[in-house]
Symmetry: C2
Subunit: 462 residues, 2 copies
Amino acid sequence: MKREKIKDLLLSPAPGDAILAMGWVKTRRDSKDFSFIELNDGSCLSNLQVIADHSLKNFDVIRTITTGSSIKVHGILSLSKGAGQKYEVQAKEIEILDPAPDTFPLQKKRHTDEFLRSIAHLRSRTNKYSAVFRIRSELSFAIHQFFNDRGFFYIHTPIITGSDCEGAGEMFRVSTLNPHEPMKPDDSGKLNFSEDFFGKEAKLTVSGQLSAEMLALGLGDVYTFGPTFRAENSNTSRHMAEFWMLEPEMAFCDLQGNMDMAQALMKSLTRHILEKCSEDMDLFFKFVDTGLKATLENLLASEFIRLPYGEAVSILQKQANKFEFPVEFGKDLQSEHERFLAESHFKKPVIVFDYPKTIKPFYMRVNDDHQTVAAMDILVPGIGEIIGGSQREERLPVLLSRMEEMGLNQKDYWWYIDSRRFGSVPHSGFGLGFERMMMFLTGIRNIRDVIPFPRTPKSLEF
Amino acid sequence: MKREKIKDLLLSPAPGDAILAMGWVKTRRDSKDFSFIELNDGSCLSNLQVIADHSLKNFDVIRTITTGSSIKVHGILSLSKGAGQKYEVQAKEIEILDPAPDTFPLQKKRHTDEFLRSIAHLRSRTNKYSAVFRIRSELSFAIHQFFNDRGFFYIHTPIITGSDCEGAGEMFRVSTLNPHEPMKPDDSGKLNFSEDFFGKEAKLTVSGQLSAEMLALGLGDVYTFGPTFRAENSNTSRHMAEFWMLEPEMAFCDLQGNMDMAQALMKSLTRHILEKCSEDMDLFFKFVDTGLKATLENLLASEFIRLPYGEAVSILQKQANKFEFPVEFGKDLQSEHERFLAESHFKKPVIVFDYPKTIKPFYMRVNDDHQTVAAMDILVPGIGEIIGGSQREERLPVLLSRMEEMGLNQKDYWWYIDSRRFGSVPHSGFGLGFERMMMFLTGIRNIRDVIPFPRTPKSLEF
């Protein structure tokens, strides 16, 4: 007999079938002649109620089954008399696969997120985290479906890189050299990587963008979705050393098209999750953030505000006393400023664009004012910046002069520069922090709690 | 006016529309009153033929357009008189976005794969590589669709890891320590990682399996699909330092179920690519491997052979004179042996199972004979091993004694062992080398040519 998943059993068209279910016991309670077992197999949030009556040959053993034990149940799917759900199972045979001892940490009581992080290998056995991981899976799928439907090609950009990309942040070094021995300098006194695996200094990528641009300039519309890294020693609730980033890159696309695509993506992903994960989402609406449902529905209903950086600064300067950090044209917006705009001032997502070129990387397209670049950031309530992007500088002479301005070595970027020599075209792209999107959708406020095994400073367990 | 992709234009229901196309010029040829431009935008293999006649105001300039230049074409979609394809475009206006100089390396002639690897940033501008990358994208999507349809959850397992997993291969170290300085030993003379980013030795993962098991034991069916790393200094056509791996992991699943799933996956992916990428696949059938189509159709039509390792050894020993390496019970099969079984002996995919435990990792389930483990490898013609998997050892005492046998430190695997304490269940999984699958589907025989930017020893460009 084939095992069926609880999700499928609960969607059965009619009762009466003989079924086989397997899973883990959430709780057991007993009456005189019956035991009631709540069984979960991870396929959905709902448990399957299993009813064992005293006629079962191992009824005595069944009445000792502990929370966390794994069991196998043959029985008949029946209409439930209780209020909860449609079906329950009248057990014909229950086999204990592996009894859990009393030391199983997930007894029926509330646990703190901090405690659960210390047993991250067991988090998927809880309601909250199994819901998080199911939503995370569906959100990934929604991303692939969104772009596949629109004729984008999914590309895998390298994780190990020889260039320091855009100076987006501190980088991890990757090496096979013996850490016991100091590196020998070469003849010119510089570090000598010739004996290292790649024969040169290697690092973990901070962004797949520069590589993605190369492919967009041949394939048209592409996106990369993979792990990225920051070696920043900051222990905040919004940063991790390893996280996933989605980066679409579009040939023949300007900043307006970029904003249009980013808005369409945000709405499509939100709608997808509300539709496909409604049972799991209800948990977050009820227990994590009671304002969450309204926030998400508001996003679906709104046209995002499009606000030049200069105007954003004016708005913020009028509220200067509200902020810890000063607001000044030419300075980057802080998280508190971003959240003020999205949460308090506009009460909906805001796209800030045309940032001063001095605070943005070399590859962003210089506007006609020569002071700003065609950059855009999307700010959402509760999170702040969730998307950052730009139109790219496609004009070779402008690109080269920007690189010189910023002290970058052309030799390190020969292939990137090359792409502007042979049929350069306008193109644009953006990056969406996948975990930020998960936080936005679930209302969870610590980024460590939306990824199975978080990597942060001094923390590398599991 | 909105730009349309060439793929969509060529699928238009009827001619007559005014259209806007953009792309790169593949070739231009001239007659007295006309210029014919083959335009490609990466959306599909086919070019759009653009016809410019002498009435266009910049006709003289059009007749100088070089291969590789980017252009913008307004025109009328018309039925093509030529044999090639259904539509062509009568240009009303052609704007050169950026002319390519004669130094553009991809002039119309055959280039070697070696040369193209040296300009990997431009490879997506060629027919062959744009086809590879479109297929790669669709294959990724097919994977997600296959598992999403079957109720699997996509999980992201960590890239940076503190455990050396399964000893699957040499690992890269990840660090933020200053490479100028030798590491200081701690009091006991060991390396002292306390000042490194994670406070302990960190490496790049060789497999997401152990993490995936943790999530399968809560969510049921999961898969991880992401980059994995091997720091092996071997320059072969089948190995890279960075590659993508798909690893499904299924709770309540034994070795037979594992084989069933792997076979269903291989067939489904192959069918998906034949259906969705037929134009691109024709290129590989014609120009890369004339036997490829038959190989793929043979896979779709066959039940995979299921062959115990012991029987595989007997078959191979009868052919010992054919092989460079000896065949002996207790030794791993070499690539030449694997290919002989799939290509010459059975002429179809072969699943070899029940390998000697001495050559397999600690986590594979020990069979009742105490000599073999419930492992399985899938061998396919042209490639050899493409999938490796096993039922996992779910019995705590057996797992612990296997770890001791193999000299593993229990402390390093406390969380893995923990998962066998609290409601352990039978479970199985396997790994599919994504680039190996790409090679199988395209007939390409150098793994560097199925990924945009390959990472191999002493090679870290782009």
